[in-house]
């Protein structure tokens, strides 16, 4: 029987899933846990949000962009 992972372990797996390819067993354990755990689902969505937020930094400076376009 596959051992159940705790939220602590799952949160680390969610994070590592953003940095490396998880193994089959890891993905399976992660998927199972996320199905039954609302907290970790929320965490997983927060991580995805964090990644897209960082892609937007630094915030676009409208003035600089307007300046660049007007030349």
């Amino acid at each position: 029987m596959m051992s159940l992972r705790s939220c602590r372990e799952v949160s680390a797996l969610v994070s590592q899933g953003l940095d490396r390819e998880l193994g089959f067993g890891e993905r399976l354990a992660l998927g199972l846990h996320l199905q039954i755990c609302k907290g970790c689902r929320g965490f997983s969505r927060q991580m995805a949000f964090l990644r897209s937020a960082l892609e937007r930094l630094p915030e676009d400076d409208p003035q600089a962009r307007a300046g660049a376009q007007s030349t």
Binding site: S6, S11, G39, L50, L54, L57, D60, A64, A68
Partner: protein, 189 residues
């Protein structure tokens, strides 16, 4: 050479943006200025050809990313900060989970957080939260998420193990989500 001057002006117009970009990573005005200067020189002397397939800014950021990684590599060699204050193996995650491994505070539903992208204040809060991370943690996280550097390259540049790298990234993410929760989402903006 009218076209050349035009191109020079266009490249120069992005200097402020590039400086802000470099500062987010390097947090050192002089080093950031140097990286941007190198980028503009490379761009204007045609060391890096502008193929016209992307926006000028995107192309410049692409060059800048390489200059930033070079600067980080250099800094990393000069300063052995393997255990800079705050980057130690403190068991901070122990306060986030109960003994049985469950969340101490269950992560909240942020609803539709992408709405924050339209708010100028959000970026200020995000930068504030990033600034609070310990130096090395922040550096690894910014390389990964902001520059988009693959983990194995980060390991090479900073001379750390993949496991250490994942631990630092995990810590950064845990700290940032807590900080955003407190400083942004709890404010019910």
């Amino acid at each position: 050479m009218k076209d050349e001057n035009h191109f020079q002006d266009e490249v120069e117009a992005h200097r402020t943006y590039l400086l802000r970009y470099a500062n987010l990573q390097l947090r050192n005005a002089t080093v950031a200025e140097d990286a941007v200067q190198d980028t503009l020189v490379a761009a204007l002397t045609g060391q890096q050809r502008f193929a016209g397939r992307s926006a000028v800014r995107t192309w410049l950021v692409g060059i800048l990313k390489h200059k930033i990684v070079d600067a980080i590599r250099k800094q990393s060699r000069e300063v052995a900060f393997a255990n800079a204050p705050g980057d130690g193996d403190g068991g901070e995650s122990d306060t986030l989970f109960k003994v049985d491994g469950h969340w101490q505070d269950v992560p909240a539903d942020w609803g539709n957080p992408e709405q924050s992208f339209g708010r100028k204040e959000f970026y200020a809060v995000l930068e504030e939260c990033l600034a609070k991370l310990p130096k090395r943690t922040r550096q690894v996280f910014m390389m990964r998420e902001h520059l988009g550097t693959p983990t194995d390259e980060i390991c090479k540049v900073l001379e750390i193990t993949p496991t250490h790298c994942w631990v630092l990234l995990y810590r950064a993410r845990m700290a940032l989500r807590a900080c955003l929760q407190q400083k942004w989402f709890d404010g019910a903006r």
